[in-house]
C-alpha cells in the first residue's frame, strides 16, 4: 500500500539491470523517472531505484506488465530533498 501524500515515490528492483531496463522503458513511454539511490527507509542495501510521479503509477504498472519488466515494489517515502 502506498503511503498517502509521500514526498517521493520509488520503484525498487532486485538488481541494477532491472532498474536500468525499467528506466529506459519509462522514458521511451514518456513517463517520468529519475535515477536515485534507494533511501534507507525502503531498504538496507545501497543501490539504484527510480523516483516516479504518483499519478503515473497505474501507467507504470501497466507498462511493466506489458513489457514484462521486473520490479520489487513501489513505495512512497517522506524524505524531502533540501537544497542549500
Amino acid at each position: 500500500m502506498d503511503t498517502p501524500k509521500a514526498e517521493h515515490y520509488y520503484i525498487l528492483f532486485k538488481n541494477h539491470t532491472d532498474g536500468t531496463a525499467m528506466y529506459h522503458a519509462l522514458r521511451a513511454a514518456g513517463l517520468s523517472a529519475q535515477i536515485a539511490p534507494t533511501p534507507r527507509q525502503l531498504s538496507v542495501c545501497c543501490g539504484v531505484s527510480l523516483i516516479i510521479q504518483p499519478e503515473e503509477i497505474p501507467a507504470i504498472k501497466k507498462l511493466a506488465e506489458e513489457q514484462e519488466l521486473e520490479y520489487v515494489k513501489i513505495e512512497g517515502v517522506n524524505n524531502p530533498f533540501r537544497r542549500g
Binding site: H16, Q34, P37, C45, C46, G47, R82, G84
Partner: protein, 423 residues
Amino acid sequence: MADYREMWKELGMDVETHDDLCAVLPQAIGDVFLSQKNRPEKMDYFDFVIAEVHGVRPAELKKFREEGGKVFGTFCTYVPDEIIFAAGGISTGLCAGSQFWVPGGEQVLPPNVCPLIKASVGARLTRTCPFFRLADIYIGETTCDGKKKAYEILGEDVPMYIMDLPQMKRPEDVDKWAGEIKKLLVKAEEVTGNKVTVAALKENIHMINEKRKALMRLYKLRQNPVVPISGTDVLLISQIAYYDDPTRFTQKVNELCDELDERVANGVSVVPEGNKRILVSGTPMAVPNWKMHNIIETSGATVVCEETCTGTRYFENLVDESGETLDELIHALAERYMKINCACFTPNSGRIDDIRRLAKDYKADGIIDIHLKFCTTYDVEEYFVEREMKKDGTPFLEIETDYTDSDTQQLKTRVEAFIEMLS
C-alpha cells in the same frame, strides 16, 4: 536496492559499519543533486554510477580479478593510468572524500593531517571501502609529506609502490619522472605478468587522451554565457572519472556534451541570468565531498570551472601519441604529467598562470580558493594566488575547510557575502 552485502562480505568488508554510510548517502545525493532543477537528462548515467558507487563498479573489478586481471589503486592525478592499462591492468581511484572515514584514519595518524589522507587511510583500515579491498597493489606518489608517511603505514597492510615525483620542473626533473614512469611500467608488468608493447601503450595513451578530450569538451561548454550544467554536476563527473571504465566514461561524457551543445544553442541555462560565475581553485574534492560546490551554488552563484585535481589538472594537456618506441612514449607521458601544476612543486608559478588564464576563459566574476585543513602546500601557495589575483582586480576569497558540517553555516555566510560583493 540490489543486495551487494554478499559481495562486500566476500571482499572482507565490515558490512555493519559500512551500512552507516549507506544510510546517509541517499539523502545527501537527494539534497545535493536530485533537488537541482532543469538538470541535463544525460546526467542519468552519472546519477546511476553514484547511486551504485559501491556496487556496480566494484562488481566489475571483482569479476576482472576473478578472471586473472590485476587492479591498481591510485591516489593522485600524477599516476599515469596509461601504463597500468597498457599492462592489461585496471587503475581505480580510492575512497577519500568523507568524514565517515576520518576517525579510522585518526587511529593511526595525528589529527593535524589533512582529511583526505586521514579518510584514505581510515577507509582501508576500517574495511569500509570496496575499492580499497579490490586493489592488488596501491600506487602512491610523493606529492606531500603527509601522504608519504601515511603510505608507510598503509604499506604494513597492503602492497604499496611509490613513485618519486620530482619537486622542481627543470628539464632533468622531466627526465627523472620519465625514469619513474619506466619503473612503474616494469612494476606493472611484474604484477600483471603482461609485457607492455609499443602498440599497447600507444593504444592506451590514445584511450586516455580521448577521455581528456571529452572532459575538455565538457569544460569548454561551461565557458558560454549560457550555463548548460551546474558546477556540482560537473564535479560529480570529474570524481567519477577516477573510477569508471575510461572508454565508457568518455562515451557518456560525449553524449552529455551533445545535449549540452543543444542547450547552449537554445539558450537553456540551469541558472538565472546574471548569476555570478565562480572559478574554484585549490585542493582535490574526492567523492562524496560536494560541500563547497553545494554552498556556492545555493548562494546565488555558479561554479564554472575547477582549477583542481578534480578539475582542469586532471585533463589539461594531451600526451603526444606519435612516439614509436617505449622510451619515446614514456618521455611523452612524462612531459604531459609534469605540466600539472601541483603545489608540491617549487616554484609553482605555472599554477598562477593557469588560474589567470582560466578566470579569463571562463569569464569568472570571482575566484574562491579552497584548501583542505592542514594542506600546507596549498595553504602557503594561497599567498601568491591572492596577491596575483588582486593585482588583476579579480575578486578573491580564501576558504580553509574539512569534511565536517561544523563550519557549513559560517562558510555559507562568508560565501554569500562574497557573492553579494560581486553584484
